[in-house]
Symmetry: C2
Subunit: 325 residues, 2 copies
């Protein structure tokens, strides 16, 4: 259904900003470059280990904005509230949003609330739209990816999806798996301040690390090779994935990104990323391995597994977890 809808929207709304297919639209306002984005949040349950729908709605929109290198500044918040939602619940969510906004140094400047009858919603849905300023002169886009570039991942993967699933299904592990939900604008700002020539960035949301890499490989006409043993996955997440039949490569994250940049800048970039609270574990997980070899050979992601074999990493086929964001 999602693909169908996307095609519908791309056909109907087509314009240069939309067609860039970035997480956010880049718009030109009389010489100033702005990023503009929107996301609705329908996560279920509303509260989960490591976050809630409110902080998630702030982090998600911040992250979409900063993937184009924008500095997120202003956020709008639209609430669709199901009649009967306890005011205390709403209050907790609103406070969580405000705290998340404050921590990430963005302002919620405009909002709206609508109430729908009981049974016509699900507690609360939140839409956030965001505006950021683009001050750099880089082209942060799959088209800038070059052979020899390194792929840097900001931290361990798979926690958000598993935290939601565990909560939803009432699963208990020895330790609580907390969502990685976090704002990534600090990491991006550190990279830009360090003068890193960022070629491409992606935050890892639905479809996980694998989907982000495949999208970039396809869009850039390059091949990407990653090394399984370099990709951090916490033991408890690994265990939960095995139990639930998920591959951590495809599980959603809400506070992780990959950055693709020239190998010569790698050390500088990693230390810049590590200065941020959410980039402590930044490391190289792979490389852009080959030039475009023609129409039939672009866009493959391969992974060298722990036992040394190479496998092709494909887009996730079949159902993704519903309502994880």
């Amino acid at each position: 259904m999602h693909n169908l809808i996307e095609k519908m929207f791309m056909t109907e709304f087509k314009n240069p900003a939309l067609e860039s297919r970035h997480d956010s639209a880049v718009i030109n306002l009389e010489g100033k470059k702005l990023a503009f984005t929107t996301d609705s949040y329908v996560v279920s349950p509303l509260f989960f280990p490591g976050g809630d729908i409110g902080s998630l709605a702030i982090h998600g929109t911040i992250n979409d904005l900063c993937m184009s290198g924008a500095k997120p500044q202003y956020i709008s918040a639209g609430f669709i509230i199901e009649e009967g939602l306890p005011m205390e619940t709403l209050w907790k969510i609103v406070q969580s949003m405000q705290e998340a906004a404050k921590n990430a140094e963005v302002e919620i400047v405009t909002g709206d609330t609508k109430v729908v009858d009981k049974g016509k919603g699900d507690g609360v849905f939140i839409n956030t739209a965001g505006i950021g300023i683009i001050e750099h002169g880089l082209t942060i886009n799959p088209s800038s990816v070059k052979q020899g570039d390194v792929i840097i991942l900001s931290g361990d993967i798979g926690r958000h999806g598993i935290a939601i699933m565990a909560q939803r299904e009432g699963l208990e592990f020895e330790t609580t798996i907390e969502s990685d939900s976090a704002p990534l604008n600090g990491i991006v700002q550190n990279l830009l301040n360090a003068g890193i020539e960022i070629h491409c960035m992606r935050d890892l949301t639905r479809g996980g690390l694998a989907s982000a890499l495949v999208e970039i490989a396809e869009a850039s006409n390059h091949n990407i090779n990653i090394i399984e043993s370099e990709i951090p996955v916490r033991e408890d997440v690994k265990g939960a994935c095995e139990m639930l039949g998920f591959d951590p490569l495809y599980v959603a994250n809400e506070g992780r990104l990959i950055v693709i940049l020239p190998e010569k800048d790698a050390d500088k970039a990693i230390s810049a990323m590590k200065k941020s609270e959410y980039g402590h574990e930044a490391k190289i997980i792979g490389k852009v391995t080959s030039e475009n070899k023609g129409k039939n050979l672009y866009g493959f992601v391969t992974m060298k597994s722990r036992i040394g074999a190479a496998r092709i990493v494909d887009m996730l086929s079949g159902e993704q977890l519903p309502r994880i964001c």
Copy 2:
């Protein structure tokens, strides 16, 4: 519930942009003034005479932006789709949005779709956020309202609310009452181009003409007097209101505005408004009648009725129509 929620948000998110309590936030981006706004649309039914949730979502956000005199430019669209919504329905809505955007010369540049399980939504909810540029140097705000100013209304009132109610309740009238849903940016741009010193503007949405006037009277510390016989209400709307027990003064509109400006500019303003398709019926309906006379005397709206009596127009007490936008 709505008042409670508003108080909660104002307390938690407080900042200068939000506290202006305009329909849109005015933000300063390195010397450029922008308007930024958001609204979710949960109207039921999705299609009604004169419009649908798609065109409404575009018009509503355009209108919120231009009430500060901004020129609406970019729109985001977030869809929350209930599983099982026929794709054809969605397609019709998307096309209607695109057509509304094109007619009003705004671009939909970024979007998002989420799908929720059947029974957890209601067909589709749409959030639109919008960005506009403010190029004028006026302070369009209740604080600019002055004694002697005229109140100009752009057209007949009450049609949107009645169109929705009639559709929802299966009422049939001799003629179909169509919603007045329309973009108001053309009218506003004409006023600005004509060099009119606009003091205040309000689009008439929930709570209708009465609520907009009372809000301005209260916020400006002035009294406002309107003349019932000058307020256009179509005969069929009047009849439907009588039947349903509504007062047209309080019924929602989605394509009407009031403009408050100096009497000397009134003729020029009316002819500027009439140049727009949606301002043909623009006329003076009242005046700002008195200076603030101290704490206890501010903020009254009075209406001279057809039989010559004066009545106080108050905020709507009690329930408003649910889910009309």
